[in-house]
């Protein structure tokens, strides 16, 4: 594991293989078929608190660390067009072209309808122990993800704000 950089897990190649998005989509479909949407959301939460625990650790460094993570993350995703804007009270990740949706469409794949919800469930779980929350709007190829301090007055995520993928 990488103990110093923004990404906890590093590869020898700079950018991931896009065909892996086929497997991510297929994994969601398999779990959805076996365990329903609540089971899929549980998978997303548990991967957020388990596999991504080293990301939570980084995010405890504050919103600057959150911004640094997403810049490095999307630089390694094939075909991503993303802007990360950081201010004192918010990190705004503007996904102009979602690399996963783009590649799934190019490959003629049926995209799991609730695919875009995974960004909320995974990231919000990663943020829990770091005092960070995310609110997602848009989806289906482009979205805005706002990372903010996790406060009691923060309105909950409205899932209706996350578009179904097609």
């Amino acid at each position: 594991m990488n103990s110093s950089g923004p990404l906890p897990y590093v590869d020898t190649k700079p950018v991931g293989a896009a065909d892996f998005y086929f497997a991510i989509n297929a994994t969601f479909r398999f779990i959805l078929a076996r365990y329903g949407v609540e089971g899929l959301r549980r998978y997303w939460r548990e991967i957020g608190s388990g596999y991504y625990a080293p990301v939570s650790e980084r995010w405890r460094g504050g919103l600057g660390a959150v911004a640094e993570y997403w810049r490095a993350f999307f630089a390694a995703e094939p075909g991503a067009e993303v802007e990360v804007h950081a201010s004192a009270d918010e990190v705004r990740v503007e996904v102009k072209t979602c690399p996963a949706i783009k590649h799934l469409r190019a490959g003629g794949r049926d995209i799991v309808q609730c695919f875009c919800q995974h960004c909320f469930y995974v990231s919000d779980t990663i943020g829990e122990s770091a005092g960070v929350a995310v609110r997602v709007s848009g989806g289906n190829g482009a979205c805005v993800q706002r990372f903010v301090p996790r406060t009691p007055t923060l309105a909950p995520q409205d899932l209706a704000q996350i578009e179904e993928a097609r």
Binding site: P8, D19, R34, I47, A100
Partner: protein, 183 residues
């Protein structure tokens, strides 16, 4: 977002998550249904239609994309891969990721049923250190696998100085459970 860059890490984590939910049979069903029939359906279609020519095309694309250190060769009767630096297992080793019992089984988990469906059987051996070899031939061809160096010359992974050691083996197999393990 769950990304492609560190895919092998969360893929391996998912094997163990599934095993905890539904045991070994659920993991096998995942490799077959989600990976073979859904994610890698393009590979299945290509190989079923074109046989060994399809294998050459599929692995040339996918192993280049994954930046693997490998050698492949083929005749009209057999397709062979010598994997010297598996990018997938190598990622896990580099990052110290071990959740599932034997990550290497996932290859036979989806490739095995795919080859069975296309009329092929597999001889395969892996080290758990990122090295393995595969020979795939028609199920009707009862030939034994090649001797070390016979097909791949000096690129044969079995000629590496670090090849000896406990291995997992599959003989004329198409099922991830058809495995024998060195003591």
């Amino acid at each position: 977002m769950i990304g492609a860059y560190d895919f092998c890490g969360h893929y391996e984590w998912t094997f163990e998550w599934l095993r905890a939910q539904g045991g070994h049979e659920l993991v096998k069903a995942y490799w077959d249904e989600a990976i073979r029939c859904d994610s890698q359906r393009h590979a299945a279609a290509l190989i079923k239609a074109e046989g060994i020519e399809g294998m050459k095309k599929y692995w040339a694309h996918t192993l280049a994309e994954e930046a693997a250190g490998y050698f492949s060769t083929a005749t009209d009767a057999v397709f062979r891969i010598d994997m010297h630096e598996c990018p997938s297992k190598g990622f896990l080793i580099q990052n110290g990721l071990v959740q599932f019992g034997d990550y290497c089984d996932h290859c036979m988990g989806w490739i095995g049923p795919m080859m069975k469906d296309a009329g092929f059987v597999i001889d395969h051996e892996h080290t758990h250190r990122g090295q393995c070899w595969w020979e795939i031939r028609a199920a009707s061809d009862e030939s034994a696998p090649s001797a070390p160096g016979e097909m791949s010359g000096a690129n044969d992974v079995r000629l590496r100085g670090d090849w000896p050691g406990p291995h997992d083996r599959y003989e004329r197999a198409t099922d991830p459970d058809d495995k024998t393990t060195d003591a």
